[in-house]
């Protein structure tokens, strides 16, 4: 089932001098089983929007339909518990949220709160560890002995152990070195392709958006500016410039080549193909 967001509005601190409308009537349908990027400048409403997906925030107006639940301004918090099991939200720098003395306890914290038996939790932990690239030798260690990238894997294991249908990831690769970032993104791709998880990715990294996402949603000033399949989206770098985000390297290169007079196939997104197109058009080519 796709995620449907209908006329969603959200206002922070209503009726106070700090009143601020962060979402101004958002309508979206996010496909099931795909990887969808949500992009936009700081303050565009991205974080406010994703916090609605597991009812951390309740709409001021409008509704969210997700994983068989409907969230409206009247939704009660106690009804949200089962929703949160189905929609896992991974915040930015989740490693700062680790707090237990062992990795096993940290991963088990969520299931414990959802009332899942210890036995089942332990079984789930064993299934989840290899997914995030850790083994059982880590379980009794303190999470604070680990490197930044490893800590983040532990934090993500704590979400995966609840077996969510939808994973919402806020900048999951930020601050990692390129190799760890790649491994992290590949982990999410496996979860999408092999386990069929719907993935929403909030990201500033346009190289990741181009490489890993199926669809792109652009938020600007609390509204949806655009929603397009990824390769369609990157044919319009002017949309990115309007929101002060640099396009991916290849998009920038295609544009620079076109300005110089080269004919470039708009559907080319591979460097090798682009190089061949350019080679056939350079002066002196017979």
């Amino acid at each position: 089932m796709s995620i449907k967001i209908n006329d969603l509005e959200y206002t922070y601190s209503p009726g106070t001098p700090f009143e601020h409308q962060a979402l101004k009537g958002v309508n979206l349908e996010i496909p099931e089983g795909k990887v969808t990027a949500i992009i936009g400048q700081t303050g565009s409403g991205k974080s406010t929007l994703v916090q609605h997906l597991n009812a951390l925030l309740k709409p001021t107006k409008g509704s969210v339909e997700i994983a068989g639940f409907q969230i409206t301004p009247d939704t009660k918090l106690k009804d949200a518990k089962m929703l949160r099991k189905k929609v896992g939200l991974v915040f930015q720098f989740p490693e700062y949220q680790l707090f237990e003395e062992t990795i096993a306890k940290d991963i088990a914290f969520g299931p414990k709160n959802f009332g899942i038996s210890e036995e089942e939790t332990n079984q789930r932990i064993k299934e989840v560890l290899p997914l995030v690239g850790l083994d059982e030798s880590y379980l009794e260690r303190s999470p604070f002995e680990l490197s930044g990238g490893q800590k983040r894997r532990v934090a993500i294991a704590g979400i995966l152990v609840q077996d969510p249908e939808v994973l919402v990831l806020d900048e999951p690769a930020a601050g990692l070195d390129p190799q760890s970032a790649k491994e992290m993104m590949n982990l999410f791709m496996r979860l999408n392709q092999q386990a069929g998880k719907t993935i929403l990715l909030v990201s500033h990294d346009m190289e990741h958006v181009l490489e890993y996402c199926d669809e792109v949603i652009v938020l600007a000033d609390g509204q949806v500016k655009t929603q397009l399949p990824v390769h369609e989206f990157f044919k319009h770098p002017e949309i990115l410039r309007e929101i002060h985000i640099n396009p991916p390297g290849i998009v920038n290169l295609k544009e620079t080549l076109q300005n110089k007079g080269f004919q470039i196939n708009p559907d080319t997104y591979s460097l090798d193909e682009l190089a061949k197109e350019v080679e056939s058009q350079v002066a002196g080519h017979e």
Binding site: F93, S180, I245, G249, K260, A275, Q281, A283
Partner: protein
């Protein structure tokens, strides 16, 4: 004179597993050097040794001609500033002005001189409008620029950036990177930048590749990054323009390894 000279430096945290092995390296005064390498290659350990947070197991560290020792450490630190990775972990003051003042207070700068120094440093990083702002209301890039202002107030000769842009969004990264270039070019401050960001490293004059505590390569970014064997062995990402240049060369185009898309396209001429 060298800003920093490392002579046969070795270090180990536990006395068993060496983190730095017999490492020698010189950083010329006024230069901009980027140090790249994987996690665990010894990059951050090197920074901590240079500012005397760690002591070498063997070898010598010279900063501005002086060999680091317990006696001259605080004197040497007056000349070397460091900006760390996490913008939230290095704020001390409750306002931007207080934060910049912190280092000055520690150096017993008279209060009447302080205000002008704070304003001057904030202006250099483009944060003049934020002197009364609370740190929590700043973006990551702004926080890092305040950290730089705090260091500039001390008028250092050398600034070390230890992955200072890795937690920032692209705009924050760009603003801090521009700041780094400016400090180097206009103020002639020696820059040592530890980074994973190859686009940032490619703006340096000199790139040092560390691997398992040893210097694997030193040279101009375009020379180091075009060393295919090295880059693939260490699984280091190439800056985009070089990746493109290589793809173009493979397709039979005659282009040189350049560090910007514009320079690459400049070398090509369409047939009509």
């Amino acid at each position: 004179m060298e800003a920093i000279a490392l002579d046969h430096l070795s270090f180990s945290y536990d006395g068993e597993n060496p983190v730095l092995k017999n490492l020698s390296l010189t950083i010329p005064k006024g230069s901009y050097t980027a140090i790249v390498g994987h996690n665990g290659s010894g990059k951050s350990t090197l920074a901590k040794l240079i500012i005397g947070l760690l002591e070498p197991g063997a070898g010598q560290i010279k900063v501005l001609g002086q060999t680091l020792s317990d006696e001259n450490l605080s004197q040497v630190r007056d000349h070397v500033g460091i900006v760390f990775q996490n913008p939230d972990n290095q704020f001390i003051g409750s306002t931007v002005a207080d934060d910049i003042a912190f280092g000055l207070e520690n150096h017993c700068v008279p209060t009447e001189d302080m205000q002008a120094m704070i304003e001057e440093s904030a202006a250099k990083v483009g944060m003049s409008a934020y002197l009364d702002a609370e740190p929590t209301n700043l973006s990551g890039g702004q926080k890092q620029r305040v950290a730089i202002a705090g260091i500039l107030a001390m008028a250092p000769d050398i600034i070390i950036f230890d992955e200072s842009t890795s937690m920032l969004d692209p705009q924050g990264k760009a603003s801090v990177n521009a700041q780094i270039r400016k400090l180097n070019q206009e103020k002639n401050i020696t820059i040592l930048s530890i980074t994973h960001d190859m686009e940032e490293a490619s703006q340096a004059e000199q790139v040092v590749v560390l691997d398992q505590g040893e210097v694997a390569a030193v040279g101009r970014p375009e020379d180091v990054f075009m060393n295919e064997e090295l880059m693939s062995r260490l699984r280091l990402e190439l800056p985009f323009a070089l990746k493109a240049a290589k793809a173009f060369q493979k397709a039979g185009l005659n282009v040189s390894p350049v560090l910007s898309t514009e320079a690459l396209v400049e070398e090509l001429c369409p047939s009509k």
